[in-house]
Amino acid sequence: MPLLPTPDTSHVDYDQIYEPSEDSYLLLDTLSSDSEISFLKERFPTQNAVPIVLEVGTGSGVVLSFLTTNSSTIFGHDSVLTLGIDVSTPANKATNETISRNKPRGHYLDSLTANLVSPLRDGTVDMLVFNPPYVPTSELPILPGEEDAEGGRKLDLLELTYAGGPDGMLTTDRLLDSLEKVLSKDRGVAYILLCAQNKPEAVAERLRSGRYGEEGIRWQVEKVGSSGKKGGWEVLGIWRIWR
């Protein structure tokens, strides 16, 4: 496994933006593992149309920056376009800065303020990466702009980075429902982080049997990275999902 540098995020304000943690580092390790490098190189060879790589929920931008800076190792070439989405505009500003200070080799387009993949056109994304708000909570926090409609509930950007509703799956389920539309038909692939409390084997089974989205696509699903103590309450896994 190549040892690639972790992007510098020392400029980021962790009072309102998620600080790179065990889950972020598991994504970096998994996306630069021998098995994933070989999968991605074969899927996105240099002579073909540029792949569009989207990270949803970029936070500090550490994962998207890692992919943009190390594109020649991970994809075998620098001919990639990277794009970020976060509901938090401060996170998007932080991502812009993280990428520009970590010597990007692939081409970074933009970070957009949006709710999951809502502004993207169908079939656009070739590789999607999502470190969701996966911690089980009784309900979801409000989004920026919803303060008045929700009777003055206070916006908490940090809570938005982790609170996932029942099973920690409310937001992830919505993203998984949208994969059939947003991923490109011929070569789309997604990397999703799940924790043990998300009941990941059941999620994988729902994906394999076509129970996400409207088209009933039977996805191929494989666990390609994991960390955490088995006795501890947070055991993390990275799941690769592809057609």
Partner: protein
């Protein structure tokens, strides 16, 4: 926000996705800046298959770029792409950024603001819900 990005997005309102009017979104009051990016002709060539040309032409004209070819340039074995065409595309797609302005959907007329180069696609609650939930209220 880079011009190439606008070729990959449409209106965030779910009901607009199925209409051709929701793409491309239309610029209003756009403030442009140019930022130099290394020119790699082969990279632009690899981007071309990922571009909806008709939509790009509309966006380009709205921003005052009127030199795009009528048809998407395609390289053949006898005739590789004109380096000047690739350079012009490089300037438009990757070096031109919208720092302030609006993107408007021609279907629902919703306005998305761009501020400090970051476009905001968050919707007010009544637009973010699926239609069926609104009619059930």
């Amino acid at each position: 926000m880079k011009i190439l990005t606008t070729n990959y997005i449409s209106c965030a309102v779910k009901a607009c996705k199925s209409t051709s009017l929701s793409f491309p979104l239309h610029f209003q009051d756009a403030v442009l800046v140019q930022e130099e990016v290394d020119f790699k002709p082969e990279f632009i060539t690899n981007i071309l298959p990922r571009i909806e040309w008709e939509a790009l032409k509309i966006t380009a004209v709205e921003l005052g770029f009127t030199t795009l070819p009528a048809q998407k340039p395609e390289a053949t074995e006898e005739a590789p792409l004109d380096p000047q065409v690739l350079k012009d595309l490089h300037t438009l797609l990757l070096e031109t950024q919208v720092t302030e302005g609006k993107l408007v959907c021609a279907n629902c007329k919703h306005v998305y603001n761009i501020h400090q180069g970051i476009a905001n696609f968050l919707l007010p609650n009544h637009l973010a819900l699926p239609l069926i939930m609104i009619t059930n209220f």
